[in-house]
Symmetry: C2
Subunit: 537 residues, 2 copies
């Protein structure tokens, strides 16, 4: 940052004393840490208690504070550094836990994660291997087993055998759903094009050799148009190319069209294309739709294809007695992605993939003499990432401190309030509900007065929709910029026409009906100001 | 964990109150958080002030505490949960900041990261997009620019143009060096087999189509035998297969053999194999060796091949006036990996890749209507990961609060103390120095009395070495298990014979000569106990 002041040039032994002092742990906590701790507490308090979503500063003026390019020679003085940090960074951060920030999947947090965040940093375990984490290895395996059982509900004997058996991998923690999805498809690719006869497997010999050995003309991944963009990363990375990520159309409820799925499978078979995996979605990122997982499981099983379910968002719906039927079939998936930092209400940086077959991850196993040895029990042996923090501290704590019933309440409330918002929208002429919500993601749009009649009679033209799209884009930008309330936006294709949608994501137990009213009221106000502006032009 | 007690069954509205209470921010910090904060402070204090590396509990007995497989129905009571957590997890975590833990790359930490860890958790930014982070976007771009300049030293004009220019990508933050290396090679692959004429590029069309279009028989990545195992992950993931990761032999200093590298390049060309990248190493994970980067840059440039330098460990040597010459040539690399959680002394979970060409990352660009749109400035547009925490908070703070001179001291001291340890070893008949250290990683072994004469005269047989290997493995296991001091171990091939080495990594400003003496003294003691045991057999 621009303003950070530096100490006056210090002789070398003063640098030595300074560095030894800031690293010192013998007199922990030192006075400086206690003071900083207090300062950070105040900063946190001010940040969390602020009701708004963000300041209304425009991004360009923030960037001006970040234009120097030299690392300072001398250490900056801590108090002024932190003051600058607050002014330039913290003050303009997004209140992702604000009850009126209902537009993205970054959820509110229970209080206990904050002290645990400090603990995690302080003990600084690296779970890649037991020599840098020890107890975190069984701890992480345990938390993954709890999540595994939530999905698969295998027998007590199954879990007793696998939880702490280092030959088994019930799941893998990663930074987020993207890496979890990539890991799942990496496993699926390697497992389905694995070692056979004199072929040592795709992981060793590569994709072209694997296709040649198995007699395929290509390899594909199949899912619906609503797949998360991480699958494009996966297809690109894994060498099959984005072109080989086949996106099957969806029905009116944004669920994969099963007959088209079956047709696609048949076509791939005819064209000698190997199907690495079928992807089911449990809570599509843009609209919350849940694919017909049971039917997909049946299709995948009959065709002997790996079924991966991306439940990054929707997975925790399993906690709810009332709603878990929406995910039926997930227990037959070969792999399931769930994000911790979404509906498990954990801080950013934790996702996971759960694996039906505890042996499948062996196809991505790697060793290194200096760290994860063949005979070792290190978690880093079967993971995409190498060194990783002990994020399981949050997961383990939340599973215990929130518990099944706590999560059930969170899920039920999110869906209930989404339904409340949907009903509000249905009853207000200013808005159009674009989709009956499946869970707690809601798509709608504002309809300027001029077009309301046409909406009612279903006579909107493509040109009308383009203008309405522009209006909603503008509306969403103004609402975000004002910083009082927030919903996001997306674009849906409806009958071949792109429709800009306002997108509410309701996953905060503190969001009340009053907050939801306020979000819509603000949109009506902003819309009025846009109309006035346009009339003035 | 086993013992966590649960509340007695609560009616639904009590769950509602409980959940709303733990998420509440209106009266932040609430009493429960203040109490937990105090408790965590005590736990942290006890943990950090403990001199030992770990308890001597064996891992199997820890696993017994983690054998239940059901998520508790009711929320556990916080105090008893935290008490159990301490007993079962924290108490048996590794003191990675202990001055006598000198065996892995998990470094000691400056005090300010602990309060910042809490702040990062509290504000919970998700830097995938500005709508969930805002100021963190320019902040992260800025910190990456500082690191970029440390390596490339381009002109002030260059940085003024690129730092906050969203068309440019000076670097990408990832969880660690593994993802940074994979990202770099993903860029290299896509850039070198990109769009041309009617071919839309490998990312879209896949590896087999790319090879066919460009007329190649295969694709390879070339580096030395000392490459980190993340390159095996990269080769596997990217579809070329581990077999196509060509490991060139090293010289006696563990540096890539340049003539063999040139020969390999020529052979690949003859065999019509496309070379995606040449990998140079700046601080090999097992032995600290630094490849001849300047010569490699010359070779790569003449052959028009992407040069990636894995400086995950060694990159910060650039801070040292005295030692930076060891990395000369790094400024000509197309991409450079540096880990924050290694020699930038940050908590686990932050690595980065710096990119010479600010446009190259466009070959991995992805969009999604609901999050990173084409016209957006979101960081998630060009990254392997999706949602990610604001780890840059640590990086930005450390670059300012430690500064160039502080890092210089840390680097110089690490190398100086490694030299001290090397000299000690040279002067003690019990030990053999296996390699003159290049920076702050040291390989040596214990030589039982019986073989010392043979070591001195260079007459050890393969069988002798096997027995010495067993001895050193045993010694390292016992030392780790005792938990007082720690070095790691690795296996090196020396003249075709595998040699088990004890491996010291010295990256803690609090590690003194006394600590180093203590590590070696303990090894001598343990070795004596092994000899006694063996005589008793």
């Amino acid at each position: 940052m621009k303003k950070a002041t530096t100490c006056t040039e210090a002789p070398k032994n003063s640098i030595e004393n300074y560095i030894k002092d800031i690293f010192s742990i013998s007199n922990h906590p030192k006075l400086a840490e206690i003071k900083l701790d207090e300062k950070i507490s105040t900063i946190t308090k001010n940040f969390l208690q602020d009701d708004s979503v963000c300041t209304d500063i425009d991004l360009v003026s923030i960037t001006h504070q970040f234009s120097n390019s030299q690392i300072p020679a001398e250490p900056s003085e801590i108090t002024s550094y932190i003051d600058d940090l607050v002014t330039n960074v913290i003050d303009h951060s997004i209140h992702t836990s604000s009850p009126r920030f209902i537009g993205h999947m970054t959820s509110a947090l229970p209080y206990f994660v904050r002290p645990l965040g400090k603990l995690m940093t302080a003990i600084n375990q690296n779970v890649v291997k037991t020599e840098t984490s020890k107890s975190f290895t069984p701890f992480e395996r345990h938390s993954l087993a709890l999540m595994h059982r939530l999905i698969y509900q295998f027998s007590e004997e199954f879990y007793q055998f696998h939880i702490q058996n280092y030959e088994s991998t019930l799941g893998i923690i990663a930074t987020g759903g993207t890496l979890a999805n990539i890991t799942a498809l990496w496993c699926a690719r390697n497992f389905s094009l694995g070692q056979k006869d004199n072929f040592t497997g795709i992981e060793n010999e590569g994709l072209p050799a694997a296709l040649k050995f198995y007699g395929y003309e290509g390899a594909v991944i199949i899912g619906s148009e609503r797949m998360h963009y991480s699958f494009e990363k996966a297809a690109g990375l894994l060498g099959i190319g984005e072109r080989s990520l086949i996106k099957v159309p969806v029905d009116s409820k944004n669920r994969i069209d099963l007959s088209k799925l079956q047709q696609t499978i048949a076509e791939c078979r005819t064209a000698k294309k190997h199907i690495i995996a079928i992807v089911g979605i449990a809570g599509a990122t843009d609209c919350g739709a849940v694919d017909p997982l049971l039917d997909m499981a049946e299709i995948a099983q009959n065709a002997n294809i790996h079924l991966h379910v991306d439940a990054a968002w929707g997975g925790p719906v399993l906690f709810s007695e009332q709603h878990r039927h929406k995910l039926v079939g997930i227990e037959r998936a070969d792999s399931v992605t769930i994000d911790g930092h979404k509906q498990l209400y954990l801080p950013a940086g934790i996702g996971m993939v759960l694996l039906r077959n505890p042996q499948i991850a062996k196809v991505i196993e790697k060793y290194a003499a200096y760290t994860v040895r063949k005979e070792s029990i290190d978690l880093g042996k079967r993971s995409l990432e190498g060194s990783r923090p002990g994020m399981v501290l949050f997961l383990g704590a939340a599973l215990n401190l929130i518990g099944q019933k706590g999560y059930e309440f969170l899920i039920d409330e999110g869906i209930r309030k989404t339904q409340y918002m949907a009903n509000l929208i249905l009853n207000q002429p200013e808005f159009e509900l674009l989709l009956e919500p499946e869970i707690n993601i809601l798509l709608y749009r504002y309809i300027p007065k001029h077009w309301r009649q046409k909406v009612a009679t279903g006579e909107l033209t493509k040109a009308d929709n383009q203008l309405i799209n522009q209006f909603n884009e503008h509306l969403q930008n103004l609402q975000r910029q004002a910083g009082l309330t927030f919903v996001s936006r997306t674009t849906l294709e409806v009958a071949g026409i792109p429709i800009v949608a306002l997108r509410a994501v309701i996953a905060n137990p503190l969001t009340t009906e009053v907050d939801i009213d306020a979000v819509l009221d603000e949109q009506i106000k902003i819309a009025a100001s846009i109309s006035v502006l346009e009339e003035e032009r």
